[in-house]
Symmetry: C2
Subunit: 354 residues, 2 copies
């Protein structure tokens, strides 16, 4: 049985997968040598000739290493977890694109978890990802302030961390966890200044779900800056709703029934803004002639709508890349907090007033 023989067909592995020891046997070397030849981690201590032989055998047998077994043996995996509220939402899917890209660069696989805005499922997923022993977990949704589950979530996160996992999230800096800030507060302030500068004085606010950090940050910073500028948002012109198209639609409907209609409405996300514009249209109120509209995010898919939507550009893909880089950074170092830069983009939906 000369090991170098290669005429016959590859043996049919009845059990399905080919194992390293089969490769070793086929190559006529020991299991250890085969292991070293195939991944050569660290010290490459295997004679070229043997290495060739092993690689050839692996190729012939269509050997594919078993990442699970490697994980058990090595004590760590090559996967990270990504938790989003709604992968169908362009905001999150764009972040996801950045995450997969960066993870790819580092040779990591990405496990995707979609919570559908359910804190309970977010909790479950942290456990699931812990269970999968992912090297790091990225929490892309804004924190929810639901005290109920927040505490349990924190517990799950801590359990994961104390087991050696790294956590990174998108949002304002918090202790013990690396963060990438989306620059929401500053962006919202800038937008407030811009609208004020354009001449708007009576402003409406579709504030989104106030339990969510992202929405609240944007809404609060916006309102605060306006107050500083001497044009505070009237309480009856602030409406909370869900972070969706329908949330924007319903919110706008309510705003349009106010005794004094706002001159401009700021929706805390582009998706909501689109809903708001639809509501105005359905109500026979012209945008921007009768009511101007502004959003937040600068979703790519929405850059071509008419009238062009004034918004705050958030570099979502960059956020995804950065948060992944943090998640994969040396666990030894200090907890890092990065941020990106948002920028107001003025388009036709908010023409200069008076």
């Amino acid at each position: 049985m000369s090991p170098t023989r290669s005429g016959g067909r590859a043996p049919r592995a009845t059990s399905g997968a080919v194992t390293l020891s089969e490769v070793a046997r086929e190559a006529g070397v020991s299991l250890a040598t085969a292991s070293r030849a195939i991944n050569g981690s660290g010290t490459r201590t295997v004679r070229p000739e043997l290495r060739e032989r092993v690689l050839a055998a692996a190729e012939r047998l269509r050997y594919v290493p078993d990442a699970n077994a490697q994980a058990v043996a090595r004590g760590h995996t090559s996967a990270i977890g990504l938790v989003v509220h709604d992968i169908a939402d362009p905001y999150f899917s764009t972040i996801a694109a950045g995450v997969t890209e960066e993870a790819d660069r580092h040779g990591f696989a990405v496990m995707l978890a979609n919570t559908h805005h359910d804190p309970e499922r977010e909790l479950d997923f942290v456990r699931t990802l812990h269970n999968q022993r992912v090297r790091a977990i990225i929490l892309a949704g804004g924190r929810q302030d639901d005290e109920e589950t927040a505490v349990r979530l924190r517990a799950a996160v801590e359990a994961y961390q104390s087991a050696g996992g790294t956590v990174a999230m998108v949002g304002p800096p918090v202790l013990e966890v690396a963060t990438v800030d989306g620059d929401n507060a500053r962006g919202a302030r800038s937008l407030a200044e811009t609208l004020h500068g354009l001449g708007y004085r009576r402003l409406g606010l579709l504030a989104g779900p106030q339990g969510q950090t992202t929405a609240r940050e944007r809404a609060q910073a916006f309102a605060q800056r306006l107050a500083e500028l001497g044009a505070p948002v009237a309480p009856e012109l602030v409406v909370a709703s869900s972070f969706t198209r329908d949330g924007g639609y319903e919110g706008m409907r309510r705003l349009l029934t106010a005794e004094q209609r706002p001159e401009v409405v700021f929706a805390v996300s582009d998706v909501m803004a689109v809903g708001a514009m639809a509501a105005a249209r359905d109500a026979g109120v012209a945008v921007p002639a009768e009511v101007a509209v502004a959003g937040f995010d600068d979703i790519v898919t929405l850059r071509d709508i008419t009238p062009g939507l004034t918004t705050v550009r958030v570099p979502m893909e960059e956020i995804g890349r950065k948060v992944t880089a943090l998640a994969l950074a040396d666990p030894g170092g200090p907890v890092q907090h990065l941020s990106v830069t948002s920028a107001v983009v003025v388009r036709d939906s908010t023409p200069p007033r008076r």
Copy 2:
């Protein structure tokens, strides 16, 4: 050392993760019993009292099972892989939403792979997912006809399959692999009929990348049906381009320079249609007054644009759910081929003509 004692703090696992044997010791039972108590797979053969004790110990120690070790021991994982061309594209992210939902129902984690339309990376990802030993791989992008890599991709897929993996894809039925058809051909034919019925006779076609099944299916069926109806698309009014907003933009620019401008332009995706509308706008050509536009997909985020975009609604989330169900179906059964139903949605971008 009474096992029931519980006063002290949970032992600090210096190595990070808590193992099953630690739980067993803490509970004063054997490793096997702990294993049975915690997952009770199949026959639940453990006395309630002991079970309680084990569960309590696990809780106290914050034990989280190691899915990798379980995978090695059991011989299979509880994860599936999803390969998409571009997760930031609403088409794919919505399919992904359906996939995660269904996978979740079955207790499977989802590994996301984003190819960025690169066939080479698609190939790599199939290997990576094979390497991760995912139970099934879902190929969500349309097949590419690039002979070069197509052959290698098929080889990788076959290697994965012969190792026991299941493959399911979105697209027209092909051998050896479960498929869910997006009803592209029928949808495109219906749209052709609809536009013809509205009075359009000179039609333009933004055909997308002809190397991709999805785009080609839509374009071909559309053109063919129009030919049958006696209104064939003029060759100079067919332009191939990328499956993106910019592809639609550039394509439309070219169409607008034709000696005889088309009455209506069908872009094989909504995203392209939006680009096309932008191009018309930038060229000072009114939509739909001077040129009508139709798309395909009925992307949710684009349902509120003005003028409302006539399109073909594709139930992407349903596709995601179904293809996942197929991927997770009993591997023993015959290869299944499902399909979903698309439907033409007429909006303002294609008003009746003459």
